[in-house]
Amino acid sequence: MALLEVADLRVTFPTPDGPVQAVRGVSFQVDRGRTLGIVGESGSGKSVSTQTLMGLTQGARVSGSAKFEGRELIGMPEPELRKLRGAQISMIFQDPLSSLHPLYTVGWQIVEAIRLHEPATTKAQARKRAIEQLGLVGIPQPDRRVDDYPHQFSGGMRQRVMIAMALALNPKLIIADEPTTALDATVQAQILDLMIRLQQEFDTALIMITHDLGVIAGMADEVLVMYAGKPVEHAERREIYYAPHHPYTVGLLESVPSVSGAKDRLRPVPGAPPSLLTPPTGCGFHPRCRYAMPRCPVEEPPLIRGSACWLPRDIVGTGPEAARRRSEAAGR
């Protein structure tokens, strides 16, 4: 049994314009010491699916199952879920300022979090641990900065505080939702290094949500690519980067200028992501797919051997040669 097992998760938000099908059937597992990267564009459902696990999608219709150490999270009463949140499962968000309370010192917030879940801890003990945690995430002079307010930290330092808080209770699973998107490149590198180091040290399971395949290239064990609320490709890291099968994954990789500096014309994915009020029929990607076949709008391809696409399984990879083979197979 994996630490977290999500099966056929579906999330729908009612809106005045009709129901928005944000997540349309996602399954994955994560184990201790492993990192799962979830990649997708805005509106792919990558954030909603993990927020749902934490009971953070108020007012949404949720179906499917998500078992954490065998306990069902979907439909779990809020008080029980709250006990899990923070203690067993922590979240790190893109914008630390919005998840830290502006009117309390960071130390107070970490102490509160510790004492909430471990009532036996004294204030002094909790404070000592808070200082340790801040030091652990690389905040200089943690014994002094523990009494600072969130706004007194820079963006990168604030994200470190967030991580310190997320680790304070030694959780088994950390969900990081675009943790470095708001940060500059050099700071992003610092934070990613920190996360890798801490994960190895504490043997936590980590879910990294990002829109940028580059961010998780160095750390994800497996990658789940989402599009229009569904997983389109789910494979081990090397396979995703070096032998991608789904045209959308290929499109993501080819949209980015090559690291070698080659100035070949970029091959963007045409079109724009669909509205989830009226998701496309069949394969969600077919309106933008260069290789769409007659069956694609009609029949939904199942996620078989890591990819949800009707193209032959042996055509993988990026570049013109793979593109040619795909076109041939699609009869285009």
Partner: protein
């Protein structure tokens, strides 16, 4: 070849004022602090740097949106009053007025500069929409009905209306989804070769800048620390900050990511209100020596200029 644009020791300071009724200056943000560079006709000059380095302020100075505090910007054969310098903005949601139809948004520069009759303007708008890959039939729609990528195309069409020669692009793709970014980059490149445009291209994404630029300037805390032809800068970066920046960039290639040595900088970018003396990078620089905190390095060299006492490739 004469430069299209010459930026001479430009400084832009923003006063920080305090007080309720009588507001007095209590400090200054040194957003751009002595930048000299030139832009050649037909080239793309990329400007990279992290938030707060002054790249957007410099772009706005060049586009004439900010008055410079000191220094000068010389335009050669560029008439700002005829709209020959235009700007493309970062946020495709914020840069279009949500309450106006896209046709009238794109026609704005024509109306403001009293160019053509209403019928001519309408034709020009349709022409522009087609040029940037939008359906001209949609000129009566509102921005909310377009996706992020399409909105950026609307912004580009507007910038092209007066047939400008120089376009300042301020992070034109960083707010877009990855799969859409490439569409806009391709469009910008096509327009450049078709219309002979010159670009000043601001971005924080190093690989995008490398892809579009002929030359690249790296900024740190209001100053240019290195400027060179793009390939040269990426292959043999001389300034320690450029080295760190390049080593920190994420790459969608696990093997490369694993192989790479990252130069991890310590600490954060200092405040531009009280920038460090001499070399501004010295408090974070892995190579810093006593000289660095005493003497400011000049931007030296021919094609490849670096402002460092101890330049050299580190990655």
């Amino acid at each position: 070849m004469t430069a299209l644009l010459r930026v001479n020791d430009v400084r832009k300071y923003f006063p920080i004022k305090e007080g309720l009724l009588i507001r007095r200056e209590v400090g200054r943000v040194h957003a751009v602090d002595g930048v000299t560079l030139e832009v050649q006709p037909g080239e793309t000059l990329g400007i990279v740097g992290e938030s707060g380095c002054g790249k957007s302020t410099l772009a706005r100075c060049i586009a004439g949106l900010h008055e410079v505090t000191s220094g000068s910007i010389e335009y050669h054969g560029l008439d700002r009053s005829r709209g020959q310098i235009q700007m493309i903005f970062q946020d495709p949601y914020g840069s279009l007025n949500p309450r106006r139809r896209v046709g009238s948004i794109i026609a704005d520069p024509l109306v403001i500069h009293r160019s053509g009759t209403p019928a001519e303007r309408r034709n020009r708008v349709r022409e522009l929409m087609e040029l940037v890959g939008l359906n001209p039939e949609h000129y009566n729609r509102f921005p909310a009905e377009f996706s992020g990528g399409q909105r950026q195309r609307i912004g580009i069409a507007r910038a092209l209306a007066l047939r400008p020669r120089l376009i300042v692009c301020d992070e034109p793709v960083s707010a877009l989804d990855v799969s859409i970014q490439a569409q806009v980059i391709n469009l910008l490149k096509d327009l450049q070769s078709e219309l002979g445009l010159t670009y000043v291209f601001i971005a924080h994404d190093l690989s995008v800048v490398r892809y579009v630029s002929d030359r690249v300037a790296v900024m740190y805390l209001g100053k240019v620390v290195e400027i060179a032809p793009a390939e040269q800068l990426y292959r043999s970066p001389q300034h320690p900050y450029t080295n760190a920046l390049l080593s920190a960039a994420s790459v969608a290639d696990p093997d490369l990511a694993a192989k790479r040595e990252r130069i991890l900088l310590t600490g954060d970018v200092p405040s531009p209100i009280l920038p460090p003396p001499a070399c501004r990078f010295h408090p974070r620089c892995p190579k810093a020596a006593p000289r660095c905190s005493a003497e400011e390095p000049l931007l030296l060299g021919e094609d490849h200029r670096t402002a460092c006492h101890y330049p050299g490739v580190m990655i």
